[in-house]
Amino acid sequence: MNATGSAAVGAAGVAVVGMSNGHVSSNGHASAPPTTLAKALNMGLRASMENDPKVLVMGEDVGKLGGVFRVTDGLQKDFGEHRVLDTPLAESGIIGAAVGLAMRGYRPVTEIQFDGFVFPGFDQIISQLAKMTFRTQGRVKMPVVVRIPYGGGIGAVEHHAEAPESFFCHIAGLRVVTCSNAADAYFMIQEAISCDDPVVFFEPKRRYWEKAPLDVGAVVGSTFSSAIRRTGTDVTVVSYGPSMPVLQAAADAAAAEGRSLELIDLRTLSPLDLDPVLESVRKTGRLVVVSEAPRESSITGDIAARVMEEAFYSLAAPVLRVAGMDTPYPPSKLEEYYLPDLDKVLDAVDRVLAY
């Protein structure tokens, strides 16, 4: 599916090197069976539904079809139509009904079919879902998950390849997280469902079918934290979701040239967990931030600002960003130019080292 990233997934994709903020960052047990990210999400949803009868799955085509990406495959068959709801085609209705169901004590997991389709539901997310707890002084909690497949690289038509995460990170009351591999997918979706706050859960759609070891018995702490994926000494490279395999490939290529990259997977986009990033920058002095989202007013800009504020004297070079263009997402034949790839990341690495 993707020219730059696929080779890096697998064994290297979840190379695990330790802790961040006291949490185990991921698991990579050698005997853990390889599992696709989509299947891991399915298993995580299933585990949550088994653990808590108040967990509902709702969205367009999530029932009998199992979702257009098959993430909810088999759930309606096993849990029934009262727990897995095929909804009318109305995103505001899906989110708005989930808000009401949450008020009633349910924990709805909503699916927005594609990133570009979330906007009809944007009003309910911003105006009700995000603000309800604050408005009611904590009397009404909103344990709602909004699952959104996001990102490009699949040769899709318009509205099917966007990276809208920054919109949601700007909104108080929401938590925004994203997974980059199967193991995280399994644990993160369960943590999102058990969270009493609304969580916008971004799923890297071009990584749905990539396999990684998944040990469902692993003991993990909070997965809503940055994870160090590879230790290094020369440049810190930070990203999340679909770009993580790109970073792994870049780190492999850089290593061949004698350059040591430290890779950090943010996993949580709001709130950001920047302590591991700051710690890394204090060591390397150089930072590259990578994201598919347009560069303007984005997460990458926020990270650059925060690092400048808190680690100014550790920086040996300006923070560089590798991001999507400030254009509408292009027709798919052009998307390889639009998306961050191996060469763009290595180019940025060269530039921070040459500064």
Binding site: L101, Y106, T133, T136, Q137
Partner: protein, 420 residues
């Protein structure tokens, strides 16, 4: 000249009794196409048309409706009507006090309900404690019926809180400022009631059946959320009553800007009953809403009610209706006042004496005094309130920001100086 036959055909699209027999029902076909001005003329009438459910007319004459019984004995009827009268007088009194407090600078804004007392008290008194209500921002009368003390409405309008009551304890959701948002939230809640098995007779549970009611205005019917709410409610048989107070105006826009047909007829398009009730007749609103809630509680929801009423005051205290509507329109509606017809009926039939009316007036004045005193005494919360309850679970980023702000404030010798 209005084509009355065509107007009538619209208002008789399908009565509630046709339910089941005719399914969703088809929209009536006009026999002769009316001009837009004819449609406007028909809808602008102060009369709600022939299908209007009314039991207490503006002259105070009571005629029970066979399809919407009040379920009250002759013996208990006076107490019922006197109670409704008291509700309406008290609600109107604190509503007027809200306007005055805004004019005196004690509230940043007030949203008057003047003229809609019957529509709200009738619906509100039809609710059982277990029923859930989702208001817009004008439902002070429904709040009253749900046991919200009027003073609990004040923090929103004084700017000290976004919601002054506990939505869970009262089964009355917070006011919803975004037009129409609450209607789909209500539908979701009602879907939950059905999932819980709280609808219809239960062999395993002794808890009473429940339903939900969503309040919205004529303007909101144009919102996608209201459409989506009706689609969802129909798809899942949700026990929700869509209670539209058609007060004829959405700020400056008349109802004909929202719809060519009477609003209650829209229900037919979704496949559930729609009823138009005289929104200035508290007994009719009570009877019809009771029927609708019972339908929902027993599993026959959803139902739409259009309460045909009039916004006698401005949209809010920030609005100036003289810019867009004629004074004689309001004068015409004054003759249909929701409280006056009850007073006439009580007095003319000897159901209440002067002492009763005096006592209610005195009670209203006491409430107004308490309302005013509470308002003036409402204090600004500490700035830390900004940071509380944004999230239910710990949030290090916000905690850090709060600590920084606290430290910044502590740098001032007189802390009150920065947020006075």
């Amino acid at each position: 000249m209005v084509n009355q036959q065509w107007i009538d055909s619209l208002t008789t699209a399908r009565g509630v009794k046709e339910r089941g027999a005719t399914g969703a029902g088809a929209a009536p076909t006009p026999t002769m196409a009316p001009s837009p001005s004819q449609v406007i003329a028909g809808l602008k009438a102060t009369s709600g048309g022939e299908n209007l459910i009314q039991v207490l007319n503006p002259e105070g004459e009571f005629t029970p409706h066979p399809d919407y019984p009040l379920d009250v004995s002759a013996e208990d009827f006076p107490a019922l009507l006197k109670g409704l009268y008291r509700d309406m007088v008290l609600v109107r009194r604190f509503d007027r006090e809200g306007n005055a407090l805004q004019r005196q600078g004690q509230l940043s804004i007030w949203v008057p309900l003047l003229g809609q007392e019957a529509a709200q008290i009738g619906a509100g008194r039809a609710l059982e404690p277990q029923d859930m209500a989702f208001p817009s921002y004008r439902e002070h009368g429904v709040a009253w019926c749900k046991g919200i003390d009027p003073t609990e409405l004040l923090p929103i309008f004084r700017g000290t809180e976004h919601c002054g009551w506990d939505p869970v304890a009262t089964n009355f959701a917070g006011y919803c400022i975004v037009i129409g948002n609450q209607v789909i939230n209500a539908t979701g809640y009602a879907m939950g009631q059905r999932l819980d098995g709280a609808v219809g007779p239960s062999e395993t549970s002794h808890r009473p059946s429940e339903a939900t009611i969503a309040f919205f205005g004529d303007g909101a019917t144009s919102q996608g959320d209201v459409h989506e709410a009706m689609v969802f409610a129909a798809a899942y048989d949700a026990p929700v009553v869509f209670y539209c107070q058609n007060n004829q105006w959405a700020i400056s826009e008349p109802v004909e800007r929202q719809s060519r047909i009477p609003l209650f007829n829209r229900a037919a398009g979704y496949g559930f009953p729609g009823v138009r009730v005289d929104g200035n007749d508290v007994l009719a609103c009570l009877a019809v809403t009771r029927w609708a809630m019972d339908e929902c509680r027993s599993g026959n929801g959803p139902v739409m009610i259009e309460a045909f009423t009039y916004r006698m005051d401005a949209h809010t205290t920030s609005d100036d209706p003289t810019r867009y509507r004629q004074a004689d329109e309001a004068q015409a509606w004054k003759l249909l006042d929701p409280i006056e017809r009850v007073r006439v009926h009580l007095a003319r039939n000897g159901l209440a004496d002067a002492a009763f009316f005096d006592q209610i007036e005195a009670e209203a004045d006491e409430l107004a005094v308490r309302f005013r005193a509470f308002c003036i005494g409402l204090t600004t919360p500490a700035p830390d309130r900004m940071f509380s309850h944004v999230y239910s679970e710990p949030h290090h980023q916000l905690d850090t920001q709060q600590a920084e702000f606290r430290s910044y404030l502590d740098g001032f010798e007189d802390e009150t100086a920065v947020h006075a």
